[in-house]
């Protein structure tokens, strides 16, 4: 018995690990029934794998049997691998047992498609329902939306899940068509839109009726694979931006493609995953969501690719030297946030602290800004008058000579075109 469950867990965790989302935050499910678990408040990473990724949820597939043959997926029909399937009770027991020991924040349940979409979705919903109703489980549940599942099933899933997600897989429709001819972005848009509308409808209802059930309280997310198909960074981020705007997504995840197939449409096995590119995309994503940047400022037809050697915020600043230096003692919060080396926390502190007197550089350093980077873009109480306009390439050289990026040691598989 125990050997079989160990083998299943191995196969089905291994197959699920390419889905990068592991967030357990954003829900508001409190433990009010004296049951197990509480998904109220911030997420928790209970451990990190040796590749440095957060482990917050028990992330598994219900089964890796699949009727589809998507070239980028390890569980594709034509791939010769071991197959397995959990029973409903096995998943419930594992989740409860792991949660009780404080190993996890909850369950992330995905699945290969067996028989058809409804059949698969129904199994996923059954597990979530059993956890919630029979086991009084209030931990976090992330359910995958199976493309093509009926609206009744999606509605039911939304009542038990904290978050739901459905993957775009490839950033553009043409990329997807190349590797998974049976799939289309429309299959993704439909359920994303349906769940978004249901969330809004219930929110409105809540204004009138007090006890409206929770419905996907932590919202929806999606993922796209980067580097399997030849999209530019601009195409990727424009696509992400569109989904953030149209579907009110909480997160878009970018997953550097890890070669798992000899298919000649994609990078060959053994190719390094594009980790640096992935990192730059996440930095851009953050700038869009927390730093007030419009995606068009960061990426446009003049600059369709993110710089490899410097981050997108610094890159933007160097392209817009006419907007700097700014005086931190008088500038708008909005502009302070745009200074390379100043984060959200420090920007807020600066705005509060400057009410008590003009800030000096030593105070800025104590507040916690990356002063060596920021100093090229700011003025403060003890700044020395500077006569020459700083030259962008010169500033870049100074900053690069002082910083040693952790990525410079990582081998690069993306060659620049020029």
């Amino acid at each position: 018995m125990s050997e079989r469950i160990r083998e299943k867990l191995h196969i089905l965790a291994d197959a699920a690990k390419y889905d990068v989302s592991c967030s357990s935050s954003g829900s508001n499910r409190k433990n009010t029934n004296k049951g197990l678990g509480d998904a109220n408040g911030s997420g928790i990473c209970h451990t990190y794998t040796e590749d440095g990724r957060c482990v917050s949820l028990l992330k598994i597939l219900l089964t890796n049997h699949c009727i589809f043959d998507c070239a980028f997926c390890v569980s594709r029909k034509s791939n010769d691998i071991k197959r397995a399937a959990f029973t409903v009770d096995e998943v419930v027991e594992l989740t409860m047992g792991f949660y009780r020991r404080n190993y996890i924040e909850g369950l992330f349940l995905s699945s290969g498609i067996f028989k058809n979409a409804d059949y698969t979705m129904e199994r996923l919903v059954r597990i979530a329902k059993k956890l919630r109703l029979e086991n009084k489980f209030n931990g976090y549940i992330h359910l995958k939306t199976i493309p093509g599942a009926s609206q009744e099933l999606l509605t039911e899933a939304g009542l038990y899940a904290d978050r739901m997600s459905i993957n775009l897989e490839m950033p553009t429709e043409s990329g997807l068509k190349l590797l998974a001819p049976e799939k289309s972005h429309d299959d993704v848009k439909m359920p994303l839109g349906f769940i978004k509308d249901s969330i809004i409808a219930l929110k409105d209802e809540r204004k009138i009726i007090k006890h409206v059930p929770k419905f996907v309280p932590a919202g929806q997310s999606t993922q796209m694979v980067v580097g399997a198909t030849p999209e530019t960074d601009m195409e990727i981020m424009y696509s992400a931006n569109e989904y953030y705007k149209n579907y009110d997504l909480k997160r878009v995840y970018y997953s550097g493609y890890i070669p798992i197939s000899y298919d000649d449409r994609m990078p060959i096995i053994g190719t390094q995953p594009p980790l640096l590119r992935e990192n730059r995309l996440y930095q851009t994503d953050w700038l869009m969501r927390f730093y007030g940047f419009d995606v068009h400022e960061l990426l446009n037809t003049k600059n369709p690719h993110l710089d490899v050697d410097i981050d997108p915020k610094l890159s933007w600043a160097l392209r817009n030297m006419d907007q700097f230096p700014i005086d931190v003692n008088t500038a708008d919060y909005r502009m302070i946030l745009r200074v390379p080396g100043i984060g959200v926390g420090s920007a807020k502190k600066i705005v509060m602290a400057r009410k008590f007197g003009r800030l000096r550089s030593d105070q800025l350093q104590k507040i916690g800004i990356a002063y060596n980077r920021a100093k090229h873009f700011i003025r403060c109480a003890d700044s020395i008058f500077q006569r020459n306009e700083p030259e962008p390439m010169h500033v870049k050289g100074l900053i690069l000579s002082e910083s040693n990026s952790k990525y410079l040691k990582v081998p690069q598989n993306q060659l620049s075109l020029f």
Partner: protein, 261 residues
Amino acid sequence: METYVFDGSLEGLLTAIFEFYERKPKSIALVSKQHFEPLLLTEVFEVVSDEPKARRVWEGMRKKIGSDWLLRFYKAFLSEQPVMFQQLFVFACYIFDNPKGAEQNFGHPAVIAVTQMERSVSRERHRMKAFIRFQETIDGIFYAPVEPDYNVLPLIGTFFKNRYADQRWMIYDLKRKYGLYYDLQSVTEIVLEQLPETKSAAYLKKDLLHDKEQLYGLLWQDYFKSTNIPARKNMKLHIRHVPKRYWKYLTEKLPDPDAYF
């Protein structure tokens, strides 16, 4: 300069602040008894912890800075760092001597010191929420030994109570020799006369553990390995997120599963 020596408790620290305003010396150094080394020429004033005095200071601060900042003050205190006591004293005086809102002056050294220490303690509290691993005993109590850098148990009781409302649990701070115990009703502080027998540093002897404990430990270790992507290996990042000093108590980091079960 006078040296105020207090007993190391929050009540003592607050009393010291009260005495300072009562006795009005020019400046003082605040030291806990534990860290006090008498020198020939220091003038010493021994602070006697006094609840009503402490309460007055506490409430006075609440009026000035509100509950949020009061919690920050308390968290910084739980760091138990000798230099912090002096900083908290300076911070309190700065708050009392200035109009409302002074705590937002992030250019002031004491405000910065308290803020930074509060963040550090919060980080340790968060790590405890993440890294605590329970082992189920034969009598159905979920037991977790810990050795946090700071005294964070007072900050995590409610969190674990809300989360594990339907199971009895005990979190024991081996460094500070006290723990929290939840009996399905409420959380109480306890001191164990004798610690349960362990096989390794962290793991209870097999005959103290529930039948299922070994399997869950193994499954978790398996899962930890299976969910890793070797092509992305990045040990530096791994260790930054899971510092080595915590490995001792992490089920997934124990070297050989048979060695401890």
